[in-house]
Amino acid sequence: MPDRFHSVTLDESRCKGCINCIKRCPTEAIRVRNGKAHILSERCIDCGECIRVCPHHAKMPIYDPLSSMDNFSYKIALPAPALYGQFHNLDDIDVILNGLLKMGFDEVFEVSRAAEVISDATRKLEAEHKLIKPIISSACPAVVRLIQIRFPMLLDHLLPLNPPVEVAAALARKEAVKKTDRKPEEIGVFFLSPCAAKNSAVKQPLGLERSNIDHVLAIKDVYPPLLAGMKKAAGEDMEELGESGRIGISWASSGGEASGTLIEDCLAADGIENVIHVLENLEDEKFQGLEFVELNACNGGCVGGVLTVENPYIALARLKHLRKYLPVSACHLDRIPDEAVRDHAIKEEESVLSLSTDFAEAMQKMAQMEEIVKRLPGLDCGSCGAPSCHALAEDIVRGHASERDCVFLLRQQMSELAEKLSQFDDYIPLPLRSDDKEESE
């Protein structure tokens, strides 16, 4: 299996090898080895949970530095709608968009504008009965990866459209080429992202040959220079740049995409554990009559991403205020643009969960695993570096650990050994032994 790009990295000097991240990883993708956390690349879905829970800030999201703006002479900013919820005392989105121009971008293309394209396209596909129900949204890359490795049966249900940011990037570049007469490669397209998973999705696109985004910047990095830019912009005559309505802006939080489809029977779940529960239930067909399912890995939706500044629920309250007087939607399509459609369906990957590609061997390993689990204490203490006794048993049969890695089993073995040694307490070397002792033996 090719090594995947992941947008989370470890600062070894900060990692204490504690168990916080291994216990919270929803796909059991982290082990502590050599005193440091180690990510099992094929299992990681870039959800960002480990970044959130690490008390030592050793897990760090990967994204591009602000200095990458210097790589291009013409720069377009693609602000995620979550960005709009990051500021106090703001009534007008145009202040942010003009602020982006002041901080050095030549143009702004709102991701929320492209989100309305996807909302409209979803409604069109739904009306043509072209989608398998329930439709599962495909905008959150961590969710798509999760389905790919753990719920492959549900891949057919994924909305066959690109995430809004890719649509925004493609449309923005096309418009800029027309407007400036530059070559497409001379134009730098920068996504101002609330999360790191989007960076992985740019480096290794899902269902797309090549991403249209050149660099992914973190909202938290953009925040300080943007604040300065906004101050400048607010004092002058501003350009009217905002081109999206309520539907587009609503994509920033959980439930926004679902309500934008105007489909009645829909569900929106956020937070990776909740998402897993819903997917389990969907796989077992426990929901009847459900038409659309929106899933976001982060609590609250994209406003909960690890690259944001503000508390997600405060950000959501601000977004509600900002979008109050906007039109419902600024996008009305005659037809679905090519940029909105995925190049190819997202396919199943070789299962990373099976114990062996050979069925007989997998059966044997599972039987061994059940035996090992019975011997382990069941405390799930994490001292072995695995998140649970079950996970350790799995590691053992996969050949990555041994039973001695369990401190409790080791202790048991030591006490057995000590008992054996104590049998020699009465031993007296032969030259010192008295005759009657010898007789008794």
Binding site: E283, K286, S354, F359, M363, M366
Partner: protein, 143 residues
Amino acid sequence: MSGIHLHYDVPGDDFTRAGEASGSVKKALRQLGIPAEVIRKVAIAMYEGEINMVIHAYGGTVDVEVTGEDITMVLKDTGPGIEDIDRAMTAGYSTAPDNVRSLGFGAGMGLPNMKKYTDEMTVESEVGVGTTVTMKVYITPKA
């Protein structure tokens, strides 16, 4: 090749715990590399069975046997038993009480769905003694 045997107790009167057994079976089957379509059938049929045991029979036990060819699920309870098995197998026929229906269960599709998602199914039941449902899902389709 000897099979894998998994055993679960399904507690009665606790809807929140119905689905635990089918959930762990699903995880085990995934680790064995069983095709996703087969896992889905097993999970759906078994969850239906678990729910039935909770609603009608104060819980029971589930025993799952996995061999190279198929997956067998034996759901056993010591509940009231089924008076008329043919009728119980009819889609839409239900004896579930109102409080259960108000939770969205009791649509009369339990046994019919279990039959639909499995390749073999037998129901043995004696009134006042209990019910045993045996279901089989083939891993490789039989010619």
